[in-house]
Amino acid sequence: MTAYVVLLPGDESAWEATPQAERERVYAVHREFARTLEERGHRVTGGAELGHSREARVLRTDADGRQTVTEGPYAETVEQLTGFYLVESDDLDDLVDVCRVLGRGEGAIEVRAATGGAS
């Protein structure tokens, strides 16, 4: 099995303003995604929903070697990572196909192989 990461970029502000009923619909899409993965022989080994990027802190090292910590995300874009799954799978094409289920609740979905395997 190869480990893959399913990354979910999206518009956080729109999500924050989303009424509860619509959120429940999106969570139901996620549950269906997880169920379909299992039915088709993939395995979810981890994942997380992320807090709003305004809560983020970024660490970097300046040219003079000084370390700084700032608030807010590293990329100032409308689309931010909102969450991700770790999935073990033997079949990337089928995994991508199952991700179409998530497309009913998420704008864009990026699938990447993990190199070291999930720890």
């Binding site: 480990a3 990461v5 990354l7 970029p9 969570y27 996620h30 549950r31 981890g46 997380a48 929903e49 992320l50 807090g51 990027s53 809560e55 983020a56 802190r57 970024v58 660490l59 970097r60 090292t61 370390q67 910590v69 995300p73 590293y74 990329a75 874009t77 689309e79 990572l81 991700f84 770790l86 990337l92 991508v96 991700c99 179409r100 998530l102 497309g103 704008g107 864009a108 979905i109 990026e110 699938v111 990447r112 192989a113 993990a114 190199t115 070291g116 395997g117 999930a118 720890s119």
Partner: protein, 121 residues
């Protein structure tokens, strides 16, 4: 205990691919020091993954009719890409930030985000 996700963001994926084992080991050693300091401060790593090069990514988006479109490559066409992440359980934010400073030796930037407090479904 609150959970946080620590993303490693690296300026040059191609350079990392071409790096010698010695250089890679320095980065892995910095990552290990991060884990060790967390443990000393009552925190721990509960998950994570190394990501492969973004050229291996597949992206799903929607067309005008709502159908899925699958393309190759990452969603963000930037030089800096997320190269991996850790999920950390820690007593507070500052513990994570302090420990993450140790990883700057091996990574261009680190972004830390709290996980929202919500019942697991």
């Amino acid at each position: 205990m609150p959970q946080y996700v620590v993303f490693a963001i690296d300026a040059d994926e191609d350079a990392w691919e071409a790096a010698s084992d010695e250089v890679k080991d320095q980065t892995y050693a910095a990552d290990e020091r991060f884990g060790k300091l967390l443990e000393e401060r009552g925190a721990k790593i509960v998950g994570g993954a190394d990501l492969s090069h973004s050229r291996e990514a597949r992206l799903l988006t929607k067309d005008a009719a709502g159908g899925a479109v699958v393309t190759e490559g990452p969603y963000a066409e930037t030089v800096e890409q997320v190269s991996g992440f850790f999920i950390v359980e820690a007593p507070d934010y500052d513990v994570v930030v302090e420990a993450a400073k140790l990883m700057l030796e091996g990574h261009t930037r680190l972004e830390i985000r709290p996980r929202p407090v919500r019942e697991e479904s």
